[in-house]
């Protein structure tokens, strides 16, 4: 993990916090790229390390945005725990064996988009259900999950591009 990756991760995190605090998208949609950031963590990281990073990311995010500690941590931990399974399912076990990081340049935009779609869907499904806490009609929760996923995946794709070290090398 390079110093550039840590810096980019922190900047993307800060942008997400500012966005969550200052931009109001209404009750139908949430814009969040935390799942993409978790997906982009180096493959050399063990699942335990990824879980700890997800926990800290979610905790600080909850602390600085909604104040409801746990609402981001819970879905983000599920994303972190299922990360290796998603990588194996979409990119094959070779990526894990070769210890390569997720990159649009190497794996292609289509495969990365599919992985992002899965992790975003997992994240928003859990987040929307917890946030609604039984007070929203099921249809509205489903609309929220669908719209949030569809809007967040293209943005997350850009986030993967920014976080991916290969992408940076390519344009240097």
């Amino acid at each position: 993990m390079t110093r550039r990756f840590v810096f980019t991760y922190l900047v993307l995190f800060a942008i997400q916090i500012v966005l969550a605090n200052y931009l109001n998208f209404g009750p139908y949609f949430i814009l969040c790229w935390f799942p993409a950031m978790i997906l982009c963590l180096p493959v050399t990281f063990s699942t335990v390390s990824v879980l700890l990073v997800a926990f800290v990311t979610g905790f600080v995010a909850d602390f600085l945005t909604t104040g409801t500690i746990g609402i981001t941590i819970i879905p983000l931990l599920v994303v972190a725990y299922s990360r290796n399974t998603v990588i194996r399912m979409v990119f094959g076990s070779e990526l894990l064996s070769r210890r390569e990081d997720v990159s649009i340049h190497k794996q292609g935009a289509a495969k990365v988009s599919l992985a992002l779609l899965i992790v975003s869907l997992v994240y928003f499904s859990i987040y929307a259900v917890i946030d609604a806490a039984g007070t929203y009609p099921a249809l509205l929760v489903l609309i929220r999950i669908a719209v949030s996923t569809l809007v967040s995946v293209p943005v997350s794709l850009y986030v993967v591009g920014v976080l991916s070290p290969r992408e940076a090398d390519r344009w240097r």
Binding site: F25, S46, V48, F55, T66, L77, Y81, Y136
Partner: protein, 273 residues
């Protein structure tokens, strides 16, 4: 050997996942625990400081709009004071005090307010140092905003009407039925009046007021107007209410403290015993 190590790491990951998830769920669900209140207070204190800086910049750029609104409010209040002064036969100045009857009115500025979640809240720049107590009402000239829930020294945290946990006792018209008013769950200026008796007819456009049947809000604060009325479960009516206060355009509020609340609570406790 490698298999055993792999199995161990899988078990460790699963254990860490379960422990962290349980911790997160506890954090989320323990809304009544002292730790949660402490975390919430610390979080809101940090947010309040951050947002105060951000809000002061935003306030600066919307001063013109605010001035217009304040001027209008001032005109309405002056007219009301003159009206009350004429009725009571006392000079208007005495009525312009912050204490009216059993309630004390404390103006406050919104430091932060959430509008896009299911459990929306508000942070105000007045706290226990200014005499704010939990369970005080939050209003504007356009109606009810919420109720103070937690109080810090310089800030207070309240839940707004855009939160399913808050319901307000409301009356349709000046002498109509009393019912419970709660958020409709999606819009920033919509509410639902529930448990209305069937034998009372409610017309579209009827004004909804606070009933005063609680120690939080005084009576006759206008809240909104009745819209569509529908029957629920064949035994009760439910009416949509268009709120006068649009939560998307709030900046200043007034906190109402019932001076007799302790006395009322003591009496209620005594009656229960």
């Amino acid at each position: 050997m490698a298999d055993s190590r792999k199995r161990k790491s899988v078990v460790a990951a699963a254990a860490v996942f379960v422990i962290l998830e349980i911790a997160a769920i506890f954090m989320l669900s323990g809304s009544r625990s002292l730790q949660d209140i402490w975390i919430n207070k610390a979080s809101h204190r940090t947010l309040a400081t951050l947002w105060r800086s951000g809000e002061s910049v935003r306030n600066y750029f919307s001063l013109d709009k605010q001035n217009k609104s304040l001027t209008t409010d001032n005109l309405i209040l002056s007219a009301r004071i003159r009206e009350l002064g004429a009725e009571a036969g006392t000079p208007g100045k005495e009525l312009a005090d912050t204490v009216f009857g059993h309630f004390r009115y404390i103006p406050a500025t919104i430091v932060k307010m959430s509008r896009n979640t299911q459990h929306n809240y508000i942070i105000l720049d007045k706290g226990s140092a200014d005499g704010i107590r939990p369970q005080s009402g939050i209003i504007t000239s356009n109606g009810v905003v919420g109720v103070v829930h937690l109080v810090d020294e310089h800030y207070s945290y309240g839940i707004t009407l855009m939160n399913p946990m808050l319901s307000v006792s409301a009356r349709v018209g000046k002498a109509g039925p009393v019912a419970t008013l709660g958020w409709d769950g999606h819009s920033s200026n919509g509410a639902v009046l529930r448990n209305l008796p069937l034998h009372h007819s409610i017309a579209k456009g009827d004004t909804v007021w606070t009933s005063g049947f609680s120690s939080v809000f005084p009576n006759d604060i206008p809240i909104g107007v009745a819209d569509r009325v529908r029957m629920v479960d064949g035994s009760l009516n439910e009416a949509d209410v268009e709120l006068f206060q649009d939560f998307g355009a709030l900046r200043y509020v007034v906190i109402i403290d019932n001076l007799d609340r302790d006395e009322i609570s003591a009496l209620e406790k005594e009656a229960v015993q």
